[in-house]
């Protein structure tokens, strides 16, 4: 070991560069009892946060926006209409009035399905296709974030 102390870093760097250049994962070079081996393992491994403590998990719960509560799309039929902005949804033109759409309604592309209030302005959300209303995924007067699914159309 005594003479293994003086390591030539440049040589190692040179070999490391060769690893890059050639895409090799390992180079071993030996001469007269002296040998050097460099290796680099390029590989992805599982997200460290996926295995996070209970604490984090509870926080993710308290942050439903980060992990939408709505069941995974592939489990549901229909095409979602998603929120184009952050705001508060209103299902009807005014409190007490009939909602824009009800389950089972046949609606046409361009129909208003609900309003999203942002900074005191009410923005109509319009149907992106014609079809039957399969599911309404949000409650009246509740907040939504960008990209959140609002309605499912057949």
């Amino acid at each position: 070991m005594a003479n293994r102390l003086d390591i030539d870093s440049d040589l190692i760097r040179k070999l490391a560069q060769l690893l890059d250049e050639t895409g090799l994962s390992e180079i071993e070079y030996e001469s007269g009892g002296r040998s050097v081996r460099v290796a680099r393992q390029i590989n992805a491994h599982n997200s460290s946060i996926s295995g996070h403590t209970g604490e984090i998990i509870t926080q993710l719960k308290s942050a439903p926006e980060a992990t939408p509560l709505s069941p995974t799309p592939e489990k549901r039929e229909g095409t979602p209409i998603t929120a184009p902005m952050v705001g508060t949804v209103f299902l009807a033109p005014e409190p007490g009035a009939d909602p824009y759409v009800k389950l089972g309604d046949i609606i046409n592309e361009g129909d208003t399905v609900m309003l999203i209030e942002a900074m005191k302005t009410y923005n109509p959300i319009r149907a992106t296709k014609t079809g039957k209303v399969l599911e309404i995924l949000v409650d009246d007067a509740t907040p939504v974030e960008f990209g959140e699914e609002l309605v499912l159309i057949e």
Binding site: A44, I49, A63, M119, F146, G147
Partner: protein, 448 residues
């Protein structure tokens, strides 16, 4: 005290703000783009809201979305971090109109310092030394030549609305003035929708020295000493240290008192930084940043002041938790900005982090949102980590920084860690002998 703070930023600074809030018992709200849904601060925040698609203008610069988010979650205050909306006076006013506290200075001061010409005039009035130059806008090449004759060449043409080096032109002789002047105006127009330009004496080998100031709503103003940020590439700071190896104790105290005195007269509130060029013992005002700086940790390390905590307290109307006499400077601190770039070509290197292991131990601090498995998005600034190290002496700090860089593992992307290791091996840097042009030369020498 605020019960809930919305963090209108991303990356390491969003995490920094989350931590300060958490330690004050304040609930945090992370607002983010779709690209940042898995960001560390989003995972740690008490609540998070997606603002919009990756593009900053649709998310982190989307004022209506941010205000809606603040309304929905019932936040008391908004911390803007740095960059994005942090120096947008309009954003600050809109928040106030909607009843949210903007954690930062008053809109009028943000606006004032946003106008480089006005800022210079005001601060000069309050005793801040400035670069000799045209008094305000220069309207024609002829006027430019006349001004420059008085100042003596070389001179620098700068955009009044600008910053970050865009719209700047160095002129070394009268004959170059005509074209340089025209280019400067055109660039200024393009970059800032404002083609007003002014002229300053050009300094050949200055250092970038900035003074950290802090003021509260009760009329007290304090300085937290200087930071030496001369190591820059393309006007981007790469490494910062405090205290500056170049200043004498007398110079330090003098410029510090001038800075705190000026913001006191100005009636400024919260944290701010007054940037100077320093050459031959003289300071020349560059600009004032009305926000938290990327490099604030070096000041925290030598003063012991938690600056984000202090910002929140002051924004809530509390007096500063320290007077000038309570501030002493202990040891030395250096920050390395680690970016997701090739250390030689500086080509951006976003992507998945396959391995992540930060250095630890005594007096080593890492501010980073990186984690193993995280995907560095390509849409934003390439800063991915700040390594800040403290030592009783500058030399101890340098030795500790070197071993920390050795230990730091960031796999899957290229980073500027090797660049920092090279800088730490350079005698000029080790001796503290560098100016704002040093790094550009160093980098180009390294490449050839």
């Amino acid at each position: 005290m605020f019960e809930k703070v919305l963090i209108a930023n991303r990356g390491e600074i969003a995490l920094r703000i989350h931590r300060a809030c958490r330690e004050m018992g304040i609930a945090t709200v992370a607002v983010h783009s779709t690209a940042d849904a898995d960001a560390m601060h989003v995972r740690l925040a008490d609540e998070s809201i997606c603002l919009g698609p990756p593009s900053a203008k649709d998310s982190y610069l989307n004022i209506p979305a941010i205000v809606s988010a603040a309304t929905i979650v019932g936040a008391n205050a908004v911390h803007p971090g740095y960059g994005f909306l942090s120096e947008d006076a309009g954003f600050a006013s809109i928040l106030e109109e909607h009843g949210f506290t903007f954690i930062g200075p008053k809109p009028e001061h943000i606006a004032l310092m946003g106008d480089k010409v006005a800022a210079k005039e005001v601060l000069e009035k309050f005793g801040v030394p400035v670069v000799p130059g045209s008094n305000g806008a220069v309207e024609s090449p002829e006027e430019a030549r006349a001004v420059s004759r008085k100042l003596g060449y070389p001179v620098l043409i700068k955009a009044a609305g600008g910053g970050g080096g865009r719209g700047m032109q160095v002129v070394r002789q009268p004959s170059d003035m005509e074209s340089a002047y025209t280019i400067a105006r055109t660039e200024a127009k393009a970059s800032f929708r404002n083609d007003t330009v002014y002229i300053e004496k050009f300094l050949e080998t200055p250092r970038h020295i900035e003074v950290q100031v802090f003021a509260d709503s009760h009329g007290s103003a304090v300085h937290l000493g200087e930071r030496d940020c001369s190591l820059q590439r393309r006007h981007q700071k790469i490494l910062e240290e405090a205290r500056s190896p170049a200043l004498t104790e007398t110079e330090r105290n003098k410029i510090g008192e001038i800075a705190s005195g000026a913001i006191k007269q100005l009636g400024y509130e919260n944290a701010g930084t007054i940037e100077f060029l320093y050459e031959d013992g003289n300071f020349y005002f560059i600009e004032m940043n009305t926000r938290l700086q990327v490099e604030h940790p070096v000041t925290e390390m030598i003063t012991g002041v938690d600056m984000v905590r202090e910002q929140i307290r002051v924004a809530d109307g509390l007096p500063l938790s320290f007077a000038q006499d309570n501030i002493s400077f202990n040891g030395h601190a250096i920050e390395c900005r680690i970016t997701a770039e090739d250390p030689e070509t500086f080509a951006p290197s976003p992507g998945k982090i396959t391995d992540y292991h930060p250095p630890g131990g005594l007096s080593v601090r890492v501010d980073s949102g990186l984690y193993s498995g995280y995907e560095v998005p390509a849409y934003y600034d390439s800063l991915v980590s700040k390594l800040i190290v403290h030592g009783q002496s500058r030399n101890e700090c340098l030795m500790r920084l070197r071993r920390s860089l050795e230990e730091y593992v960031i796999g899957g992307i290229r980073t500027t860690i090797p660049l920092h290791e090279k800088i730490l091996a350079n005698p000029d840097f080790l001796n503290g002998e560098y100016d704002i042009h040093w790094l550009e030369r160093f980098v180009s020498d390294e490449l050839t």
